[in-house]
């Protein structure tokens, strides 16, 4: 226990008396964490944008005007039974007419033509939303059965097919790129931190050898460096998150303009704060402690 308190004391003493190196190590850690958080925020924004676009894609199934209400409901329930489907809206023929009239209220020719017909020429419409754009094809194929064939006048999917496929490709590419960038970034950050800590310990190699010569055990020498690594990790994560929240206060009003659904990065960070802080703290502690151990291995062979 006495040794433990001495290790803590030496860690704080070393940090204070080597303030320049301590500051530089923390600074590099903060830069690394800020870069990773920026990448995470960009990834989150990309996901949000893609889901916003995905949200606006749906498939409309136009039913013939004389279809019976029970039969239409049967089609709706059938579609709803697919696990890929997240929402099915059945719009009555009256609502369809109303919306058509609203859309064309500025063209008197269309209003005249409808009046001429004397009856509602539209059938009900079933609006389907699936989890992924790729699922639409499956739903459309599932409707190609003789039972429903006479009832279905048209499906709007044909027009969207190319757009949906393209969106799917873009989404996949962005995800792959994000993953690739994250891996490259993690490797670069690891190398920078590894060398920063290695240099910090290398500059103290003479001190380490002296401690060894006066009879300090390996753990007594390692201990302060490991405690310092943990302190650096806590300080750098705390400063990084303070800076991130400060930056988000400035970024969020701009996001409010781009995302009409009220998406905010501050809310995202607040809702996942424990996870984000926890995972980053864990990763930085593992990185710094491991690096210190590796860097010291050589210096301890005196």
């Amino acid at each position: 226990m006495l040794a433990f308190w001495r290790i803590i004391k030496f860690a704080f003493q070393d940090m204070g008396r080597n303030i320049g190196m301590s500051f530089m190590t923390i600074f590099i850690l903060i830069l690394m964490l800020l870069s990773i958080n920026m990448l995470m925020a960009v990834d989150r924004l990309t996901q949000e944008s893609v889901s916003l676009v995905k949200d606006q894609i749906n498939v409309s199934i136009y039913v013939v005007p004389d279809a019976k209400e029970d039969d239409v409901k049967k089609v709706r329930d059938y579609i709803n039974s697919f696990p890929e489907v997240i929402n099915v809206d059945l719009i009555s023929k009256e609502k369809v007419l109303e919306s058509f009239q609203t859309r064309h209220e500025l063209s008197p020719e269309i209003a005249e033509a409808l009046k001429e017909l004397g009856e509602n020429p539209f059938g009900p419409t079933i609006v389907v939303k699936t989890r992924e754009p790729g699922d639409y094809k499956k739903i459309i194929s599932a409707l190609d059965v003789p039972e429903f064939d006479p009832m279905i006048e048209a499906k709007s999917f044909d027009g969207h097919e190319e757009a949906i496929t393209r969106l799917q490709n873009i989404t996949n590419r962005i995800e792959r790129m994000g993953l690739g960038l994250s891996v490259i970034f993690a490797v670069i950050s690891f190398l920078i931190i590894f060398h920063t800590i290695r240099v910090a310990i290398y500059t103290q190699r003479i001190e380490i050898s002296i401690k060894r010569l006066v009879g300090a055990s390996s753990w007594f020498i390692r201990g302060p460096y490991l405690v310092e690594s943990v302190i650096y990790s806590f300080v750098s994560v705390a400063v990084t998150f303070a800076l991130v929240f400060f930056a988000l206060r400035w970024v969020d009003p701009y996001l409010g303009v781009v995302f009409p659904n009220g998406f905010s990065l501050t809310n995202y960070y607040k809702s996942s704060i424990l996870f984000l802080v926890g995972i980053q703290l864990f990763a930085v502690i593992v990185l710094t402690v491991l690096t210190s151990m590796l860097a010291m291995r050589r210096q301890l062979k005196v």
Binding site: Q13, E207, R212, L213, G215, A216, F220, V302
Partner: protein, 226 residues
């Protein structure tokens, strides 16, 4: 106290530093080890503090065979010895007091005992008033006295001094040798590796001369003969 039985040390590349050395140093002796550069004096010190292991032979300190000492036991051995180097080897970011107390802290000595012992030892070496200074605020002689205080504070039975006056002027040399002699009078075995003819001749104690890795002379009241 210190026994070497047929100790040979060969470094990689077949460079022989010590060749079949047999020595027996009794408790309380003051022994000077002399010899030209490259004759194995420093290797002998390195073997004694377990910085190196002998290629052949057996080395005992106080009955403890350290020829094949494990890495985890080395700190315990070093806590039994006091080591003084030519280049001082002080911790530059620790004060004089902290440099001396560090040797006790690593051994798990209590805070109370440290605050009792360190000022006493600093008084002995004449640095009682400079305990809050850092090594770079001291002269060479004063730095070497801090090293002596550090090597002395845990009351070792053996002090190994490798060219302790190598970087000092004649006045400081005299002072350092005077302190070592005083320590020896209290019963501590001193092993002094030196090039300084005057120091050896003035001491009139046992002198072991090494040449080409071998003991060529061992005289109880010897002189620097090279």
């Amino acid at each position: 106290m210190i026994k070497l039985h047929g100790v040979t040390k060969i470094y990689p590349g077949s460079s022989v530093a010590l060749r079949d050395v047999n020595l027996h140093i009794e408790a309380g002796e003051f022994v000077s080890i002399v010899g030209q550069s490259g004759t194995g004096k420093t290797t002998l010190i390195k073997l004694l503090i377990a910085e190196e292991k002998p290629t052949k032979g057996r080395l005992e300190i106080g009955g403890w065979d350290i020829s094949s000492i494990s890495n985890s036991q080395i700190p315990y051995l070093r806590r039994q010895l006091g080591v003084i180097f030519q280049d001082f080897k002080l911790l530059n970011r620790k004060t004089v007091f902290e440099n001396v107390s560090f040797a006790l802290e690593v051994a798990g000595e209590s805070r109370h005992r440290i605050h009792e012992l360190v000022p006493q030892v600093l008084e002995i070496v004449g640095l009682g008033s400079k305990s809050t200074r850092y090594p770079d605020q001291l002269s060479g002689g004063e730095q070497q006295r801090v090293v002596i205080a550090r090597s002395l504070v845990h009351r070792p039975k053996i002090i190994v001094a490798d060219e302790p006056t190598g970087n000092l002027d004649s006045i400081n040399t005299e002072e350092i040798i005077g302190i070592l002699k005083k320590i020896n009078e209290f019963g501590t075995t001193i092993l002094l590796v030196t090039h300084n003819r005057e120091v050896v001749n003035h001491l009139r104690r046992r002198v072991i001369t090494l040449h080409d890795g071998q003991v060529v002379s061992d005289e109880q009241s010897g002189k620097y003969v090279l």
